[in-house]
């Protein structure tokens, strides 16, 4: 960021304990800001602690919102807005402000919920790393004629400090002196807040370039935990969610279909034992596809078993331009031999119903298929899956051969073929 900063660090070392937050921005190795509290689990001891300590919960803030909290824009704020917006826009802003009654605001005030909610409470007055764009120091801060102080200058500075030292000198005097000690001649902004065209460092939450002074810590807000997931959920579904890490909504959004259902019989010396055998597929329509088999005394159980196993077995399938397959691929299971062939855009799925359903679930839109020899439904599905998984990635081929392969379609349409 700046050449002078490390030097400042060195001099600031003693002053560290006097500040609540670190003054020198330190790089965070992840872009997401630390959540203010764990809002996932109401049983979390930290949430419990916050509750006991009398800290405000999000629900409390929502409930306690008063019309007085929503103040109209002050003259100063309006002046600032006028620098950003045109007079016409300002008119509409003012009209909008006037149209909404603060009482309504207080009544209807709520924090955003759902997937788009913020995971932290923010007053948007400070820079959040990873969320906000960085504010760079203005270029006018730069002083091209700045020079590093020589040893004599430092001796002079120290001499001045000792000469002007008060009678009852304390450690804080020394700290203040070291803090204020400059290492260059020239504009002070050039050293303290230099302009840099490089990507700025990420900051600690709450830190900004403009305000070097530590701010008052924001009121800590605790969000309530939502209703515990899995309450009244089917145990098999819960097991599936735990095993796969998928959310319930994701599982519900998947396209599953029972392709083969049949009744099978086991002949024992006591007699025939009938069971239902089911083969299902699952896919997300965006390249994931899995097949699963289930067997149970009841068809309903076999179907759920097969569906969940298909979801567990879901694997990514390579798709060319997210519509067809790479090359022509063959699959063989038992006596079923089949070939899947890639086709141009708009060709559609011209294949038999089982492969059609699989393509629909996987998100393949242009394909032709031929099933040779046997046409056993179960083996057809398995062979088609095997064929889809046996696609070769052109990039891998290029790396293996040490030659450059170019997708001419992608070049012609400059990567916007789909």
């Amino acid at each position: 960021m700046s050449v002078t900063r490390p030097v400042r660090c060195l001099f600031c070392r003693f002053s560290r304990p006097t500040y609540a937050v670190p003054r020198v921005p330190r790089r965070q190795f992840h872009p997401s800001p630390a959540p203010l509290s764990n809002d996932q689990n109401p049983k979390d001891p930290k949430t419990q602690e916050d509750k006991m300590a009398g800290k405000k919960l999000l629900v409390d803030i929502e409930r306690d919102a008063k019309p007085e909290d929503f103040k109209p824009l002050t003259q100063k704020e309006k002046e600032y807005l006028a620098t950003v917006y045109s007079p016409k826009q300002m008119e509409s802003i003012e009209a909008g402000e006037a149209a909404i009654d603060p009482k309504d605001l207080a009544e209807q005030f709520a924090f955003q919920r759902g997937p788009l909610r913020h995971h932290y409470a923010d007053d948007f007055a400070s820079i959040e790393p990873g969320v906000d764009k960085h504010v760079r120091a203005p270029i006018s801060n730069t002083d091209y004629n700045a020079k590093l102080k020589s040893e004599e200058d430092f001796i002079e500075d120290f001499g001045r400090f000792f000469a002007e030292m008060p009678e009852d000198v304390s450690a804080s005097d020394w700290v203040r002196f070291v803090e204020g000690l400059r290492v260059t001649h020239g504009k002070p902004e050039n050293e303290l807040a230099p302009h840099s065209s490089l990507v700025p460092d990420l900051f600690q939450p709450g830190e900004s370039l403009e305000q070097e002074e530590p701010k008052e810590p924001r009121p800590e807000v605790v969000t309530t935990g939502k209703v515990k997931e899995g309450e009244g959920m089917d145990p098999t579904l819960r097991k599936l969610l735990m095993a796969t890490g998928y959310t319930e909504s994701f599982v519900n959004s998947l396209k599953t279909k029972v392709l083969v259902r049949r009744s099978v019989v086991n002949q024992t010396r006591l007699g025939k034992i009938r069971k239902a055998s089911v083969l299902a597929i699952a896919g997300n329509g965006k390249g994931l596809l899995g097949i699963g088999e289930g067997k149970s005394a009841e068809f309903v159980d076999a179907v759920t078993q097969a569906r969940y196993r298909a979801i567990r077995n879901m694997q990514p399938i390579p798709r060319y331009e997210q519509r067809t397959i790479f090359g022509d691929v063959r699959g063989k299971v038992g006596a079923v031999e089949l070939i899947l062939m890639n086709r141009p855009p708009g060709f559609g799925l011209r294949c038999q119903h089982l492969i059609y359903e699989m393509c629909l679930a996987a998100g393949i839109h242009d394909l032709a298929a031929r099933v040779e020899r046997s046409r056993n439904p179960m083996n057809t599905v398995k062979a088609a899956y095997e064929a889809l998984m046996s696609q070769r990635n052109p990039e891998e081929i290029a790396r293996a051969r040490g030659r450059k392969l170019v997708d001419v379609r992608a070049v012609y349409y400059s990567g916007r073929a789909y």
Binding site: F326, G327, D328, M341, N342, R392, N393, P394, E396, I397, A398, R399, A400, R401, G402, R403, L405
Partner: protein, 172 residues
Amino acid sequence: MVFTNLAHLCSHLNNVSKARLALTSIPNTKMHVKLCLAFQREGLISSVIRAGRSPPPQHLLLGHPTMEVINGVPSIEPVTQSNIASRRLWLGLKYWQNEPVLGHLSAVSKAKRKITLDTAGLRRVLRGERSDMVQGLRNPGECLFLITDQGLMEARECLEKNVGGLVLVRVN
């Protein structure tokens, strides 16, 4: 040009890459040399070395067969009347992620039926369409090798030079 040799070469290389061998030898003929060099140009094999009945030394770092170092100079033994019968071509085979880089080889022209392609037919084949007896190249990385009056080349190279020729092998 002996086409049975070509068929033997195809099946031998298929067997070898199924067995995941790093090194193999084939009889030394002019067509084999040209074909193997074309394979090497395409990056399908790592090296082609003419040597005797025993394999040539390995490359220090890469491990594929390489030239012998005689008096500090890498060189191959010159072919003479006395040693020509014992000469063989030693091929270094390539593998990537446990799969052979040289995929399935199949001879297109047979001893009984030679197949030639002119540039128009070649263009159709490279577009993925069938031309006479030659299926189109429809898989990523699929290659077709032709012998033309300008040498043995890959189909795309033939089309660049606007020559047709006798179709030898297809590598999938």
